[in-house]
Amino acid sequence: MNPYLAVAALFLMVSVMFMLPLVPALVELRRKSDALPLNVVQQNSGEIRHFANSFRDYIKGLQPIMQHCAADGTSAAGTFPGGEEYIVLGRADEPLMLAFQQRDATHPVMMAAGVDLIVPPNGTFSKDIYAGRQFLGGDQNTYRAILGETTVHLGASSRVMRWVHAVGEFTADLGCRLYGRISSDSLIRLRRDCSFLRLNAPRIEIGSVAANQGAPSPNGTLPASTGVVSVQRFLHDGDFEVQAGQIINGNIVIRGNLHIRSGARICGSVKSVEDMVLEDGVSVEGSLISARNMRVGPNCAIHGPVIAEQELTIAAGTRCGTLKHPTTVSAPRIGVEEGVVVFGTLWAREQGEVVARQ
C-alpha cells in the first residue's frame, strides 16, 4: 500500500472516530430541541391551595347548572370541552339514591353540587368533587380530591389521594389516610390514628383538645425560675442542658444533644445539631430546629417554626404558633399526640401520624 495513502487513511479514520461523539452534539446544537431554560416554578411556588384554586376556576362554568339543579332538586350530566364527564347533583341525599350506594363502587365521574353533599361509604371517587355547601363523606371511602365551599367531613378510614380544601372546617374521623395536601381556611381537626403529609389551616387540632391546657403562653406569666441568663447568641460545642425553670434571654446553638428541662423558657431561638428533647411546659419564643430528632412536650409552647431533619414527636398539650402568628412544623417523620394544636402548617415529608396520648 502506498504509504502516503496509508497515512491519509489513518488520519481520516482517527478524525472520524474523534468526530463521532460530536455528531449528536452538532445535531442538537443545530436543532435546539432541548434549549429552553429550565422550567423554574415562578408563580404557584408550592402554594398548598394551588390545585383547589385551579379546580375552582375550572368548574366556574358549571355554576349556573349547579344553581339550577339546586333550585329544582334535579341532577344533570355533561362533558367539559376537554372531554371530562361531570355530574351535577341537586339534592343532598342524591348520591344515596343513585347507583353509588353499592359496596365498593367506583365513580370515575367528576361530581359537583350546589347543595350539601352526602356520599355513602365504601366508595372510590377517582375524579375531583366540588361541594358548594357541606360535604359529608361515609366511612372507608377513597377520594382523589375535594373542594368544599363550607365544611368537609371524612368518615372513618377514608383516604385522600391528592388534595382537599375546605373553606370551612375540615374534619377527618378515626384512621383516615391523607396522602396529599389538606387545607382549610378556618380549622383542620384530625382524630386518632389518622396519617397525613401536608396540612395547612389557621388552626390544626389533633384529636380532642382540652379547653384549658397546661401549655404556657409565649407572652404569658413566667414560670418559677432558677435563674435568668442573657446571651446574644450562645454557641456551644458538645451536649448541653437547660435547667428546669431556667430563663434564657437570647438564642442558643448547641453542636451536640440538647435537653431542656421542665418549665424552662427560652426568649429566643434554639438550634441543636444532634437530638433535642423538651420536657414538660417548656416555652420557646423563637424557632426550634434540630438537625436530627426532636421530642417536644407535653404542654410546651413554641412560637416560631419547628423543624427536625429526621423525626419529630410532639406530645399532648403542646401548641405551636398562635392564631396571630402562625408557623410551620416540619420533619420527614412526625408523630403527634392527641391534644396538640398547630397554628399554620404541619408538614411531614414522608409520614405523619396521630398517636394516642402517652
Binding site: P21, L22, P24, A25, V27, E28, L29, K32, S33, D34, A35, L36, P37, L38, V40, V41, Q42, Q43, N44, S45, G46, E47, I48, N200, Q232, R233, L235, D237, N251, I252, V253, G268, S269, V270, K271, V273, G286, S287, I289, A291, H303, G304, P305, I307, E309, G321, H325, P326, T327, T328, S330, G344, T345, W347, R349
Partner: protein, 413 residues
C-alpha cells in the same frame, strides 16, 4: 521532577474522588432540604439589595419581579444599589421609587472604590433588618423565592444562604448552552451534595442572603475582595456560621453570550478565589476556628479549585518532560494513580457530574452537548491559569486588583 509530578497526580486524584463522591451522593444519597417546607411563619423584615452598575438593560426586570413576590409588603424593602452608573440605570430606579413609594429606596453611589463589595458596604448605612438578600441586577426572582431564601434564617446557626442560579438565555448559542450545563453541574450536584454532606456550600453573592449580625461579627463586606461571595463564605465559616444551599430556590440569570466576556468573568472569579485561598486557606485547615473537620477539609479543597488549572498545566508539562527524559514512573500504585489522574485531566469526573445534573433536572437532549464541554474546559483551564499567573505577577509588581463588570446582553426596555 518526578516527585512533583507524583504530587500533582495525587492532588488530582483527590479532586477526582471528590467529584465522584458528590455525584453519587446526589444520585443515591439522602437529600437535605431542611428549610424548604417553611411556608407559614411570622416573616421577619428583610432588605433586598440589588447591585447595579450600568444595568439599564436589566434593572427594570428585576425590580418588576421583586414588586410581585409573595412576601408581606410592609416587611420587605428593596434597595437598588446604583454603583456609579453612567447609563440610564439611575433614571429607571428613580421611576420605580416613584411608582412604589415606601417599597423601594434608591441608593445612588457616585464615587468611591469600584466593585460590588465596596458598593454593598456603602449601602449598609440604609440597612437595619436582620435578614439581607442580595441579587445581581440581571436576575429575575420568582414569586416564592424571597420566602424560600429567608426561611433558613430561622436557624440561628445559619449566617448565609445561597439559592440556585438557572440561565435564562441558555439556548442562545454554543457558549450559553455549555454554561447552562456547567451551572447545572455546579448547583444541582456540587452545591447540593455539599449541603447533603454538611460540608461547605458556597455563598454565590447573588440569589443569596446574609444575616446582619453575622456580617457585623465578621467585619462587614470586604471591599478588597474580587469575589465578595467566596470571601464571605469563609469568614462566616471561620466564625461559626453556616452557609446553606437551597436547591429549590431557583432564580433566572443571564449568562455571557460571547467568549471574551466569559473569559473575563472566569478570570475575575479565579483571582478572587485564589485571593481567598491565600487569605483563609491555612487558617481554615490548621488554625483555631469553629469549623468541623469535614468542613475544614472540604473548605480547603474548595479554595483550591481554581488553583488546580495551573497545577494541571504544570502536570501536563512535567509528564511530557518525564516522557522525553525516558523516566519510567509506571510501577504499582503510582501507575494506578496516574491512570486515574489522566482520566481526571480529561475532567471525566466533572463530566459525570454534569451528566448526572442534567438527568436530575429532568432534561434529555441537552446532554448530547457534553462532548463540547471539552472546548469549555480548554478555555477555562487556560484562562484560569492565565489569571493565576498574572496574579502572581501582580504580587511581584504590586499592581492592584481590578474589578471588571460582566457585560449584559438583554435588549434595553
Amino acid at each position: 521532577m518526578i516527585y512533583v509530578l507524583y504530587s500533582i497526580v495525587f492532588v488530582i486524584c483527590i479532586y477526582t474522588g471528590r467529584h465522584y463522591w458528590f455525584t453519587l451522593n446526589r444520585l443515591f444519597g439522602f437529600q437535605r432540604h431542611p428549610y424548604i417546607d417553611i411556608d407559614t411563619a411570622d416573616w421577619p423584615p428583610v432588605t433586598v439589595l440589588v447591585a447595579a452598575h450600568n444595568e439599564e438593560k436589566v434593572i427594570a426586570n428585576i425590580l418588576d419581579a421583586l414588586m410581585t413576590v409573595k412576601y408581606p409588603e410592609d416587611r420587605m424593602l428593596v434597595i437598588p444599589v446604583n454603583d456609579r452608573s453612567t447609563d440610564r440605570t439611575r433614571e429607571i430606579i428613580d421611576k420605580f421609587v416613584q411608582d412604589f413609594p415606601g417599597r423601594i429606596q434608591a441608593f445612588h453611589r457616585v464615587g468611591g472604590k469600584g466593585g460590588k463589595a465596596a458598593a454593598l458596604k456603602n449601602a449598609m448605612e440604609l440597612v437595619n433588618t436582620e435578614v439581607i438578600l442580595i441579587f445581581d441586577a440581571d436576575y429575575i426572582p420568582g414569586a416564592g423565592l424571597i420566602k424560600q431564601l429567608v426561611a433558613p434564617f430561622f436557624d440561628l446557626e445559619v449566617g448565609g444562604v445561597m439559592g440556585r442560579v438557572v440561565p435564562l438565555n441558555a439556548g442562545t448559542n454554543l457558549l450559553t448552552r455549555l454554561l447552562d450545563l456547567e451551572r447545572s453541574g455546579g448547583y444541582q450536584v456540587d452545591q447540593q451534595a455539599r449541603m447533603n454532606l454538611r460540608l461547605v456550600p458556597q455563598h454565590g453573592g447573588t440569589v443569596a442572603g446574609v444575616r446582619l449580625s453575622a456580617l457585623r461579627e465578621i467585619g462587614g463586606w470586604n471591599e478588597n475582595s474580587l469575589t465578595e461571595d467566596t470571601d464571605l463564605t469563609y469568614r462566616l465559616l471561620l466564625n461559626g456560621w453556616k452557609t446553606v444551599y437551597q436547591n429549590r430556590s431557583e432564580c433566572y440569570e443571564e449568562v455571557p453570550e460571547v467568549w471574551p466576556v466569559r473569559i473575563k468573568q472566569i478570570m475575575r472569579w479565579a483571582k478572587g478565589h485564589n485571593q481567598a485561598m491565600v487569605t483563609y486557606g491555612l487558617r481554615l485547615l490548621l488554625g483555631q476556628n469553629r469549623a468541623t473537620l469535614r468542613e475544614r477539609i472540604d473548605g480547603t479543597l474548595l479554595l483550591g479549585v481554581y488553583a488546580m488549572a495551573p497545577v494541571t498545566l504544570v502536570g501536563w508539562a512535567l509528564a511530557l518532560g518525564v516522557f522525553y527524559q525516558g523516566v519510567a514512573p509506571l510501577h504499582g500504585v503510582i501507575a494506578l494513580l496516574s491512570l486515574t489522574a489522566y482520566a481526571a485531566l480529561g475532567n471525566l469526573a466533572a463530566f459525570f457530574e454534569i451528566a448526572a445534573a442534567v438527568r436530575l433536572d429532568g432534561t434529555r437532549k441537552r446532554i448530547s452537548l457534553l462532548p463540547f464541554l471539552i472546548l469549555g474546559f480548554a478555555v477555562s483551564i487556560f484562562s484560569v491559569s492565565r489569571a493565576a499567573f498574572s496574579q502572581v505577577g501582580d504580587l511581584v509588581t504590586g499592581a492592584e486588583f481590578h474589578w471588571d463588570k460582566t457585560e449584559r446582553f438583554r435588549k434595553v426596555l
